[in-house]
């Protein structure tokens, strides 16, 4: 391990598949001990970017380091110190929990393997299920096993690719508590997710769409950079109102949330003008701070425009 401030420090990382640019000149710095959230629509290049960080793919362009090791030339060193959890459960379903952990521990040549496996079983609450086959586990337990497996060699960096997809809220909450515990012990975590509540639990965020990094920073910074203005409206017949608002100059998003409607746009004056044109006494209008989801959808729409 080399002593740098950043666990991940890359610039201009690019990957093409058959001339299609999947990851386009991304710069990213992640500090040690930080939980860094990676967000973006499906197919935005998140997984490809992670694969380049953990040494599975070689970038076509760009330079940088991961844990102080060169991402282009020192992939073998990176692999030894990184824990990577794939999007799809990718341990052996026909092996028991203990056998899976034991196998991974052997691959990493973990010192005092038996004890390490035992510790990891206890720590993740898998001890009394250790002889169960991985294939018989429910989604939440599979995820716990995967986390245990990628922690068994005490990595310095965790790369988690949508680890909580399809996991129930309680298990997700526990998973995040665990992540924060690990981060406070000095582990760096880069995690991709589609859940906004999870994004809000990250120290910092980056938003990726169509291979481009559109925003990054703390939650507040990302929201500020989105520069989105949102109004919430309640009242009768919101469907008609939504139809009337959509397509008006200044109105970029009209989204129904139960019995309320969120209306957002980047230009505050134009948005207010549009609202004024449909406003009547039946509805209650209220300015609210833009949510992360609104901000991201706004970013995504503008990214689409760039590509068109």
């Amino acid at each position: 391990m080399k002593g740098t401030e950043f666990a991940i420090d890359v610039t201009g990382v690019t990957k093409r598949f058959d001339e299609k640019i999947v990851v386009n000149a991304i710069d990213l710095q992640v500090r040690r001990g930080e939980i860094y959230g990676f967000l973006g629509p499906n197919g935005s290049g998140k997984t490809t970017f992670i694969r380049m960080l953990c040494g599975l793919l070689t970038p076509d362009a760009g330079t940088g380091t991961c844990l102080g090791y060169d991402v282009r030339t020192q992939q073998a060193d990176i692999k030894r110190h990184v824990g990577y959890m794939t999007q799809k459960f990718s341990y052996y379903e026909d092996l028991s929990i203990r056998e899976n952990l034991d196998f991974i521990a052997r691959i990493y040549a973990v010192p005092d393997r038996r004890a390490a496996v035992e510790r990891s079983l206890v720590r993740l609450g898998l001890a009394n299920r250790s002889h169960q086959l991985a294939g018989q586990l429910s989604g939440g337990w599979k995820q716990r096993l995967a986390l245990a497996a990628c922690l068994i060699h005490s990595p310095q960096l965790l790369l988690l690719d949508e680890p909580t997809a399809g996991v129930d809220p309680k298990a997700r909450r526990e998973f995040w508590d665990e992540l924060h515990q690990l981060a406070s012990d000095g582990l760096t975590v880069l995690i991709t997710t589609h859940y906004m509540d999870e994004a809000e639990r990250c120290h910092r965020l980056a938003y990726l769409a169509y291979g481009n990094l559109l925003a990054r920073g703390t939650l507040a910074e990302v929201l500020a950079s989105a520069a989105l203005f949102t109004w919430r409206v309640t009242g009768p017949d919101l469907r008609t109102l939504a139809t009337a608002l959509r397509g008006r100059a200044g109105v970029e998003q009209v989204t129904a949330f139960g019995n309320t409607l969120h209306v957002s746009g980047h230009d505050a004056a134009m948005l207010e003008a549009a609202i004024a044109s449909v406003r009547d006494a039946r509805h209650t209008w209220q300015r609210i701070p833009a949510g992360l989801e609104d901000a991201f959808i706004g970013l995504m729409d503008s990214a689409k425009d760039n590509f068109a």
Partner: protein
């Protein structure tokens, strides 16, 4: 409201979907077209249960004209192709043992003179009868030949020499499998077939399964090297291969009483090369196949000629040249000859050497292709 009756529209939806999926799976579609074509070619053109033009060595000690006439008659019979004129007895024995010739015809010193005296001289035909199917038709042709071969020579006053059972006494000496027991040929051959089947399928599946289930990505993100993954996956199956070899040998010995004249350690050593050849094919297939089904189909594609064109089911020499050339590229062809040579003929390393190097060449080529393709699938 759902109807309990058969709905043609729903049925059609399923049929249509199947066709779309069939179209998407190019490999499967290719196999469905390719395998019948391959079988047609092999059964229709390559396989021949009446093999002709079998390589024959003649040893003519006779100085008179009739020895030559007889050789000529053998040639024109279509069954024998004289490829070698041996100088000595020892020479012919070696050709037979190496499998270079199927028959050796010995025409004795005073053949012509004894024929003229009406003594029914003996012509010894030695046959490599390890595969009874290969020698049978040719040998039955010989007995017919005996009556007619000297028709022209023994005309006029010599016509009296036409004995009832022919002017010549053909004695057939079947080597290696004198009782023409088919099992002696088939059971050792099965060793190659069984190993081909399991080794290719199992390796192809083992690696494809890893990719299909997504565990390969996980594995490659660890410090384990691709080479370690490959060798680590192969080693257990080499052990399986040896269990199969042992099982077949035990059965061959106790159940079928197949003779085992040669050295078993030599057979075990050569088996390793053959197992390696099949595993290399399996690895190459695993890099081509998208899923386990395709892997099995590809293995079948390899398995079919390995059974039909290798000399396992049908006499190798009965096939046309193109099919023999295809057969010569298959590891099973050479392994079969090695196994039969060691078990039935008692061949040693020197005798099997001509079959050993093609096997070695195949392993080198297949491993190179396999490893190269395997590497490419990663990035």
């Amino acid at each position: 409201m759902s109807s309990p009756r058969l709905s043609l529209r729903r049925l059609w939806a399923i049929v249509l979907k199947e066709f779309i999926q069939m179209k998407r799976d190019r490999v499967t579609f290719g196999m469905m077209v390719g395998i019948p074509l391959m079988q047609l070619m092999m059964f229709g053109f390559a396989i021949n249960s009446d093999p002709r033009h079998l390589p024959t060595a003649v040893h003519v000690a006779d100085t008179g004209p009739f020895g030559r006439t007889l050789v000529q008659a053998l040639r024109t019979s279509d069954y024998f192709e004289v490829v070698h004129e041996a100088e000595s007895e020892a020479d012919t024995q070696r050709l037979l043992q190496l499998g270079d010739v199927q028959f050796v015809v010995n025409i004795p010193v005073d053949f012509s003179r004894r024929l003229l005296r009406g003594e029914r001289p003996v012509v010894l035909i030695e046959a490599d009868a390890s595969d009874p199917a290969a020698t049978g038709p040719a040998l039955s042709a010989v007995s017919k030949l005996a009556n007619t071969v000297f028709n022209r020579d023994l005309a006029g006053p010599l016509a009296r020499l036409h004995a009832k059972d022919g002017p010549v006494d053909f004695r057939i000496h079947a080597h290696y499998n004198p009782e023409n027991i088919t099992q002696f040929n088939v059971v050792p051959g099965l060793m190659g077939v069984v190993l081909t089947m399991t080794m290719v399928v199992i390796t192809a599946l083992a690696i494809t399964r890893e990719r299909e289930r997504g565990t390969m990505e996980n594995l490659l993100a660890t410090p384990v090297r691709p080479f370690e993954v490959m060798v680590g996956k192969i080693l257990p199956y080499i052990a399986v291969g040896y269990i199969q070899v042992t099982l077949i040998l035990i059965t061959a010995h106790f159940l079928f009483h197949v003779p085992m004249l040669g050295s078993l350690p030599l057979l075990y050593a050569v088996s390793l090369l053959f197992i390696a050849a099949n595993l290399a094919v399996g690895i190459t297939f695993s890099t081509l196949a998208q899923n386990q089904l395709q892997a099995v189909q590809l293995a079948f594609f390899f398995f079919l000629p390995s059974i039909l064109l290798s000399g396992f089911m049908f006499p190798f020499r009965g096939m046309p040249h193109w099919a023999q050339n295809v057969g010569a590229c298959l590891p099973n062809t050479h392994f079969l000859r090695i196994v039969r040579g060691i078990l039935l003929k008692g061949n040693g390393l020197a005798e099997i050497a001509p079959e050993l190097w093609p096997l070695l060449l195949f392993v080198v080529v297949a491993m190179t292709v396999g490893v190269k393709r395997y590497r490419q699938t990663l990035d």
